[in-house]
Symmetry: C2
Subunit: 173 residues, 2 copies
């Protein structure tokens, strides 16, 4: 049973917290996890090895950390989701977006740690990401969805091929 105590109703910053993470607070009580605080942040100074560990956990192919560092630096938005228990914090979710800072944003690399899946946290992560992009006046939010997550994104308000617009990827030949 998951109970959302507070979902984006205000943006309390964890300044008095002993933790490094600053961001929006979301309290989550879940039978399987005990009492956890889930914190969303847009602070992009992330331990790259911790991020790699998160991506390993969902089976993504490893990428050179040098390039990951550059991608984080040049993404328009980086969102991280943390489990905070007492003094401990753990990276449990991630998403980022590229953008022209004016019209378009494209969301990449959405990941939630397997232990934290099926609790509504992926949805909360995406809602937070969309909220941040909208607050920056980005009107066109796009992504490329793997087949198994098309319905997940559809539930969040993403539309497949609107007006016949098709996602395309270039391959060398």
């Amino acid at each position: 049973m998951v109970f959302w105590k507070r979902l984006f109703s205000n943006s309390e910053t964890l300044t008095s917290s002993p933790n490094k993470v600053e961001g929006e607070l979301l309290e989550l009580t879940d039978d399987s996890l005990g009492q956890s605080r889930i914190v969303f942040s847009t602070e992009r100074d992330i331990d790259l090895y911790e991020l790699e560990e998160l991506c390993d956990a969902v089976g993504w192919a490893r990428r050179p950390l040098r390039k990951v560092k550059k991608a984080l630096e040049f993404s328009f938005l980086v969102v991280t989701m943390w489990e905070v228990k007492g003094n401990r914090q753990r990276l449990v979710g991630f998403a980022r977006a590229t953008s022209d800072h004016a019209f378009n944003a494209t969301i990449w690399d959405v990941v939630v740690h397997p232990t934290f899946q099926k609790k509504g946290l992926g949805k909360a992560l995406m809602k937070y990401t969309i909220k941040k992009l909208r607050s920056d006046d980005i009107s066109n939010i796009t992504l490329f969805a793997d087949p198994q997550v098309v319905d997940f994104y559809r539930q969040l308000g993403f539309v497949l091929d609107p007006e016949g617009i098709k996602g395309m990827f270039w391959y060398p030949r």
Copy 2:
């Protein structure tokens, strides 16, 4: 009849030209246009009114110039295509890409002036754009194609929904 005298075989810069545009030179002889030089450039200091005029010519909805300026500034790549005749130059094509500077790029706002369409210039513009992105070590080049240009992009090596990956757009609800 279109004859490509030189297509990206070298990157001659028009430094001795009286024109402002610096870029790669492509000479084009076309019966309907007379002798024209077509120049591709990545110089992003563009007259916004000239760009607006080009977008008007293909019937795009007008966008606030303040936002267009910001989008050009924060695009990873801006490609312009110019017709150069003697001392005169005219903006006849445009494309831009957002990127994380590491893995992904997404191409937006590809436009060729109607007078210059059906001459292979759209293809040349896209090839130049792809070449530039590849030279910056971007491996994942993507775009969202309107239905009527899907075949155009397919001919350039773009693949529709590879492995079932779907383009999605978020709409407020």
